[in-house]
């Protein structure tokens, strides 16, 4: 069973068997506009919740992606290096950023479920 939760920094976290796949939401990619570059962490990096996990750059600006949960980076989506535009096309699917081994699975409970995140986005105006 996997479940997907969302952060107030517009990231999604899909949790399965103690591992998490993380990316940015459709709302986030829309706000960014055309993504032209993604900088990913090295595999093996330990990230604490709130650490900078990645950088995503649009034509206009660079934005930091912070770790929504703590853990060790198991895998990064190398495909985004060559095809950063995938982040605009399929942000919540093929354009995942990193996979992590969760060091504190209880952190997931503090994030929003889909309904709560939808309400949160609706309030962004």
């Amino acid at each position: 069973m996997s479940k997907t939760v969302y952060s107030d920094e517009h990231e999604w976290v899909r949790v399965e068997n103690g591992n998490a796949t993380i990316g940015i939401t459709d709302y986030a990619q829309e706000q960014l506009g055309d993504v032209v570059y993604v900088e990913l962490p090295e595999v093996g990096t330990s990230l604490a919740k709130g650490d900078q996990a990645a950088v995503v750059e649009s034509v206009k600006a660079a934005s930091e992606v912070y770790a929504a949960v703590s853990g060790e980076v198991l895998e990064v989506n190398e495909a985004l290096t060559d095809e950063p535009g995938k982040v605009n096309e399929d942000p919540q699917g093929a354009a995942w950023f990193i996979k992590m081994k969760l060091s504190d699975p209880s952190e997931v409970d503090a994030l929003m479920d889909e309904a709560a995140y939808k309400d949160f986005v609706a309030q962004q105006g």
């Binding site: 939401t25 986030a28 570059y37 034509v59 600006a61 912070y66």
Partner: protein, 374 residues
Amino acid sequence: MSSEAQEDRPTLAHTPLYDLHVELGGKMVPFAGYAMPVQYPAGIVAEHQHCRAQAALFDVSHMGQVRITGDEAAQSLETLVPGDLLGLTTGDQRYTQLTNETGGILDDLIVGRDQDNLFLVINASRKAADITHMRACLDTAVQLEALEDRALLALQGPQAAAVLGSLVPDCTALRFMQAGWYAIDGVDCRISRSGYSGEDGFEISTPADFAEPLARRLLAFEPVMPAGLGARDSLRLEAGLCLYGNDIDETTTPVEAGLTWSIGKRRRSEGGFPGAAVIQQQLAEGVERKRVGLRPQGRAPVRAGSLLTDEAGKEVGTVTSGGFGPSVGAPVAMGYVASELARPDQELTAVVRGKGHPIAVAKLPFVPAGYHRG
């Protein structure tokens, strides 16, 4: 995802096209005190590509339009800029700069010679300061009028002449940097063959209340797409054109900025503008730093403010504009480097988020200009 806090902002001014921007789905952002569209739903890359391939319509009504009247208008304004204004014949216009006593740039602007006056277009962010400065310094026999009741549209791209020519056939006779007054639907508009995209195109000054009808007519042409400030910025960067406040400011001189071409020959020898002594000395002896194009060698964009270092790790320059060039298909940048390193293909290092990225000095523009020189 970090997002900027939505702070309470002072009330932003609207251009006459504000409602149209919103109707077209423009993403409105604060810029120089105005709410302006940074992009429309198509996005910056699509708008940029469309401008290079066909035609894009930009609202640049936030820029200042100023009329200077009086027999001595050109002579008087020459005391504030290094451009040759006395040499302008009716229908011609010129790019120049308002300089300060140290040769720094207070603003860059276009000065056109109309039948009975000079017509200036100045940067939005510098509008108030420029007008105060000019009012204080110009000869009392000269009248300066800020034209706040006019809008300015820029139609840019290889199809711009065909589109505007179908409304105003005569305007296609204009060559790059020429301007004239034309009636569109019986309304007096000043059309100049100029712009800031690196493409052929026109800037159309209209009465404020005619801006929206004209914009709608232009957008109805199949090749025309609305484009926002984002595309305007990536287009001008690829075209090697300076953004005031980034690439030029009060601490950079026209010589350092590579704008010497805009200083008239007579003005170089005669001087007679603020900072002339500094600028003449730089023309004679050279400068310590120069504005250059920069090509990051990897995929990471190198943004304004990034430091440039040499092999030894010594700081040798700064990036002043940088981003992704959609037509180049790679990141592009501009900045200042020590003059001895200001040669194409010189390899340097740009510091981005604490890490060194290879970057090379490159010739400007990054994309060949499409200006209609006739």
